[in-house]
């Protein structure tokens, strides 16, 4: 229990630091969001000084409040779920925009992480078990190479081959927006799957190696333990020793990684969504950066960070639950 409380306090501290960073980065950096917005609006027509003042007031930038007061107002707004107003989709609130994008990211990332984790662990177990076999000597360096490929390039390459050259999959988007409306219809879901296939495939390919190599290394260490030798000596079947004895212990580091990967899903697969123009939260962050939509950038970063921190906390708890040694050591 003491372990859990300590971890909890740590994450509270981390959340506070993240929120504070989110508050101070825009204020320390050169550049003026109101000026950016005025610049954007004046391409459509003249912006009067009164309008500028109103805008500044809307973003809370006109105040002569001291910094600490601004900080507490900002904290108060956060507690009410108020993330400010988007500049590019003025005057939609940032929270509404995030709500609309986050589902896409979670669906795409969730499926990809689960597939990749399962396959990676399986490959890792098998290559470690048959270490030095033809399969291992081929698969391990091949995976190593795959993980060294820059992800966004792999994505571009896949897009070029399967979407542009072969025309099997669409080039951009999350569903067939021209003909369908989002909803629980068969057409929409099958269209969404078709659009998500390539992004998910590239995500699986690029993350598979990490799961596999961690699993393989941890499995090799576990296989040299006495209890595995004992299990073999007892004449247990190969599969039983491999999965019930060795893999069960070796999978622990990967379980933590899995929980963290689940958290990272919410952050959206920034590069994936950029390359495939997929309507998730990562794509939203990029557009916000390019449009200098600072309120949106801050809001998205905050949501991503909170999700990641939450998942890390869960991973810590999960680890302590799965591996009693952690509990005993820490609380002793």
């Amino acid at each position: 229990m003491r372990h859990v409380i300590r971890r909890f306090l740590f994450y509270v501290c981390a959340v506070w630091i993240a929120i504070t960073l989110d508050f101070f980065i825009p204020r320390l950096a050169p550049g003026d969001p109101v000026a950016a917005l005025v610049g954007k609006m004046s391409t459509k027509g003249y912006v009067t000084p009164q309008m500028q003042q109103t805008l500044a007031a809307m973003f809370g930038l006109n105040t002569h409040d001291p910094l600490w007061l601004q900080y507490f107002k900002y904290l108060g707004n956060l507690l009410h779920g108020n993330l400010g107003v988007s500049i590019q989709y003025f005057p939609t609130p940032v929270a509404a925009l995030i709500q609309q994008d986050i589902g896409w990211s979670i669906m795409l990332g969730g499926v990809a992480v689960i597939i990749s984790f399962t396959l990676g662990c399986l490959f890792g177990i098998i290559t470690a078990w048959k270490r030095g076999s033809a399969l291992d000597t081929f698969l391990s360096p091949a995976m190593n190479f795959l993980s060294a490929i820059p992800y966004f390039w792999l994505a571009l390459f896949t897009l070029f081959i399967f979407a542009y050259t072969l025309n099997w999959f669409p080039l951009a988007g999350g569903y067939d927006a021209a003909n369908l409306n989002p909803g629980w219809s068969f057409d929409f879901i099958s269209s969404a799957i078709q659009y998500a296939f390539l992004p998910a495939l590239t995500l699986v390919i690029s993350s598979l190696a990490g799961w596999m190599l961690t699993m393989r290394n941890s499995m090799i260490t576990t296989l040299s333990e006495d209890y595995v030798l004992m299990a073999k000596a007892k004449g247990l079947s190969e599969g039983r020793v491999m999965f019930r004895y060795a893999a069960r212990n070796a999978v622990l580091p990967n379980i933590t990684g899995f929980a963290i990967a689940i958290g990272a899903i919410v952050g959206g697969q920034l590069l994936t969504e950029m390359v495939f123009s997929y309507p998730g939260i990562g794509y939203a962050l990029l557009q916000a950066v390019n449009q200098q939509d600072y309120a949106m950038v801050q809001g998205v970063f905050l949501i991503i960070t909170l999700a990641v921190l939450g998942a890390n906390f869960l991973a810590d708890l999960l680890y302590a639950f799965l591996d009693p040694r952690v509990r005993v050591e820490r609380s002793a």
């Binding site: 740590f10 994450y11 501290c13 981390a14 630091i17 993240a18 960073l21 980065i25 825009p26 320390l28 950096a29 050169p30 550049g31 270490r131 030095g132 000597t137 190593n144 190479f145 993980s147 060294a148 490929i149 820059p150 992800y151 966004f152 390039w153 571009l156 390459f157 897009l159 070029f160 542009y164 050259t165 080039l171 290394n217 090799i220 260490t221 040299s224 990272a264 952050g267 920034l270 590069l271 950029m274 390359v275 962050l285 990029l286 950066v289 390019n290 200098q292 600072y294 950038v297 801050q298 998205v300 970063f301 991503i304 960070t305 990641v308 921190l309 890390n312």
Partner: protein, 326 residues
């Protein structure tokens, strides 16, 4: 080949990671000679490391001398738009007629040297934080450890994007952003290593002889962790190069300086993908992938030296070699 060297190599990684300064009685020449020799031995110790070092070496040479041999000015436009690869333009041209091969060579210089330089900066910061925290202990260590752990759980890429978005565009910004978001992992590893080093006898001896803390940290303990630092530097640099390219690809770099990520950004902006201009976006990506693979080969080799259990088993060869030796 590899197994043959194992008996002789048992003490070798230690020897190469042990500080030269700790071996008194050597002449100065022998000491100076020992460093390149140790590096050479480390480079040729396993085929993986040799291939990896060769790849990295070639990229460094191209970065250093390539621009002198580049056929065109990378920024110069011409009337030859979107030409596919030919004898005069080995990798074709862009939508405004720039020579892609020349851009790639100049880009190599930017990407490799900023990548390596940033890797060094990240390593320096993590050495400083990890070792000072681990050695000094107390409140200082508590604060640094908290900072390290918080920095570890904050998502690096989104934070890097947010920071890069607010500050002026340019290689220095990207470099600093990457340093700020990526130092923590190494710092944590070095801190725990320093903690265990602190209680060793040679440190106690140094303290008893009245050496100052910073001297103990950087001249007594640091040389013993050099292997760890090098391994960390290599894996950090892989990550730095990938992140660098990603940030530039997202349009957060300085678009006027030729670089691999920048080339990909412009290719994407010009719709190279939809237009089928494969010669524009494949080469820079391939360069990043090959350099990354070279670095990870080196790292794989370092891992094998550090943990013999990860070495490939080759029982047959071992038997043969033993006979030959006998």
């Amino acid at each position: 080949m590899q197994i043959q060297e194992v008996p002789g190599k048992a003490g070798e990684p230690v020897a190469s990671s042990l500080p030269v300064a700790l071996l008194p009685g050597d002449t100065l020449q022998a000491r100076i000679l020992r460093v390149p020799l140790a590096i050479w031995r480390a480079m040729t110790s396993s085929p993986r490391v040799t291939v990896g070092s060769a790849i990295v070496g070639i990229f460094i040479l191209v970065g250093l001398f390539g621009p002198f041999f580049a056929p065109y000015n990378p920024d110069a436009t011409s009337n030859l738009f979107i030409a596919s690869p030919s004898a005069s333009h080995w990798l074709g041209t862009t939508v405004v007629g720039q020579d892609i091969f020349s851009q790639l060579i100049y880009g190599t210089r930017t990407s490799v040297f900023w990548g390596l330089g940033t890797g060094v900066l990240v390593t320096l910061l993590s050495v400083l934080v990890g070792m000072v925290g681990g050695y000094v202990g107390g409140v200082m260590d508590d604060v640094l450890t908290l900072l390290t752990n918080v920095s570890l759980v904050l998502p690096a890429l989104p934070l890097a994007i947010v920071l890069a978005a607010y500050f002026p565009r340019g290689p220095l910004t990207i470099s600093l952003v990457i340093v700020v978001t990526n130092w923590a992992w190494q710092a944590r590893v070095l801190r725990s290593q320093t903690l265990s080093m602190r209680s060793r006898e040679f440190v106690a001896a140094a303290r008893a002889s009245g050496e100052r803390p910073w001297r103990i940290i950087f001249f007594e303990i640091f040389p013993n962790e050099i292997g760890l630092v090098v391994a960390g530097f290599v894996s950090t640099t892989i990550y730095v190069i990938l992140t660098w390219a990603a940030l530039e690809f997202l349009g957060l770099g300085d678009g006027t300086i030729p670089s691999w990520g920048g080339m990909l950004y412009w290719a994407q902006q010009a719709g190279a993908l939809g237009g089928g201009l494969w010669w524009w976006f494949i080469p820079p990506g391939a360069c990043i992938a090959i350099l990354g693979a070279g670095l990870s080969l080196i790292n794989f080799g370092i891992d094998e030296i550090a943990d013999p259990r990860l070495r490939p088993e080759r029982p047959k060869k071992l038997a043969k070699n033993r006979k030959a030796v006998a």
